[in-house]
Symmetry: C2
Amino acid sequence: MQDFQYQVPTQVFFGQGAEKEVGQRVKEFGGHRVLLHFGSRHSKQSGLIDRIAGYLHEQGIETVELGGVQPNPRLSLVYRGIELCRREKVDFILAVGGGSVIDSAKAIALGVPYEGDVWDFFTRKQKVERLLALGAVVTMPAAGSEVAVGSVITNEDGMQKIPLNNRKMRPLFAVLDPLLTLSLPPYQTACGIADIFSHVMENYFSRTRNTELGDRLCEACMKTLIHNGRILMESPGDVAARSEIMWAASLAQSGLLSAGRQGDWGSHDIENELSAVYDVAHGAGLAVVFPGWMKHVFETDIQVFVRFATRVWDLDPSQFPDERALALEGIGRLSEFFTRLGLPSTLAGLGVPADQLDMLAERAVRNGGTGQFMRLSKEDVLSILKNCAQ
Amino acid sequence: MQDFQYQVPTQVFFGQGAEKEVGQRVKEFGGHRVLLHFGSRHSKQSGLIDRIAGYLHEQGIETVELGGVQPNPRLSLVYRGIELCRREKVDFILAVGGGSVIDSAKAIALGVPYEGDVWDFFTRKQKVERLLALGAVVTMPAAGSEVAVGSVITNEDGMQKIPLNNRKMRPLFAVLDPLLTLSLPPYQTACGIADIFSHVMENYFSRTRNTELGDRLCEACMKTLIHNGRILMESPGDVAARSEIMWAASLAQSGLLSAGRQGDWGSHDIENELSAVYDVAHGAGLAVVFPGWMKHVFETDIQVFVRFATRVWDLDPSQFPDERALALEGIGRLSEFFTRLGLPSTLAGLGVPADQLDMLAERAVRNGGTGQFMRLSKEDVLSILKNCAQ
């Protein structure tokens, strides 16, 4: 185990109907004039934003609204949000949505008290010091941004998608109401599950040794995602299964699974390029990239993949000629799981042209390589992308 | 899953040698004049307390010392600590020890700013409002008090052992340095493991349904404890195993395993009476009581015990004539594990006289019964204690 620090400062309020208490929550955390930040027209048309505004108004809290956050949230909207918060003297930002909305809200919260260009934080020109107060109402369990330290913003100028991680960027509170996820379409549900699963795997596939408790916590999350993911494909209205997925999404990014170990995050870096250039849905991109990454790296430390095959997929080693075959079957089971969720399994299925792999590989390693389980060169990434093309 | 709130506000610093940074930690958290609170002569004689004092002095922090905390920490010492803190104008309490020391420190921190008798909080005459700032350096992984909401104090007047839980009672930080646990004698190591295992089981054996992720997180902890507990009995100097146990102790009481479910805690209530009256080591008491409790209740909800047998002890259902036999074998494996750790398996082994069971049962249910998995009457507790006598 490596040395680590651990804390989950975000106050999580989990429950069916927890939505209704959001006015009290904002009041407890000191909000008087709130920016409601959200994404799709759906949030507005479904009446959710009006309901949330109502709960705030009941507590004497004023609101201004900024919708329109897209998947792979854009810097241009962040700039608009910062300007709006300053003009309207907003003292609290409430994100209502999934990871994109929360990430966008974090960037706005970072930009409001800073005199320069908020992009400076993402390009590491400026250190994170303070943020406007921030809370989240989660409508899509996936990114776990509601308890996480990170925000990933896409700068349309050059289509750069850059993650920024800092512990000060965690929301003060997160409302997790599984009832809000019942109306998610199957494809979005599936993308969310692939995203959560990938967060677990980025920690699980590690070179750090003596991490038994961490390994087993990861396996607990993956088995829960497999079981409840399958349930939701048959019964999208199963609130119990929705609850498991929602709680797993937050825990996976809470710091619990990364404690004491070096994660990989190479697949995320590669997928970020697909999203940045072709606006691929993040979860769908990960469902394609991760098995491709696994096939490229598994033989460099096969025991971790043997453990994945036996503990996560319950495969019986005695049924396989050797560890290689066992490990490959584990990877195959993962691909099959993603496919059954209705996710694409190839770059073509994501709409990524086959003749652009060199450019994508070049971008993924522009900071001098990526990944920790195996440090990936441009050639490695190209080979992974070719695995994903088949 | 039930509605829940979740937060781990205590900042955990985990690492080999983390001890050395305790001066900086106290400084960061605002301590200027610190009470070093500790237990056995061992802490003093081993030089640990002097080392810790040295780290604080290097940061310009003044110290006063109060040792002598016993297992089942006493109210009389809490009173002395409160008086000492007031007289010496202490602004920060640093507990250096295991659960008893940290519980004692919490009670002192509660009493210093309160004008009345600190016991009022334990008898529910007074609501917890504020505490003196508090940190912990853990030397014995067991109670998890370093991240937990509770303190259990024994009032020698009537030998009442009463737990108090309040989220304000969590330490500001906890230093977890596995090197500090290397010198623990095997019996204390074993008592700690039994205590941690019991905290997991109090959550695991629940009537709440649809708790898959929580169930699996509990199983992850139990399997880690079994594997590493066995290692430590052979190789007490195995730092990797010590690290796993130490991290499991904190996580088990961090709120992670109780989220969304109703725990039981009947075995703890029963054991608290053994500790209060006969000064039994808490972990040893739990190792005796828990299997006795299981044998009494398992048939009222056998599926939970079947899951325990198959998932925690890897038993193959096809090898057993029926679920009852399978469940009983799971309970047997637990007893065997505790015995191999060198812990007693009967009340006699704890030094509890066989003719006092009626009195103990009476005390355990004095608030009108105990336990949630099955609500226990005096007759139930008596039957459990008789299971423990064999």
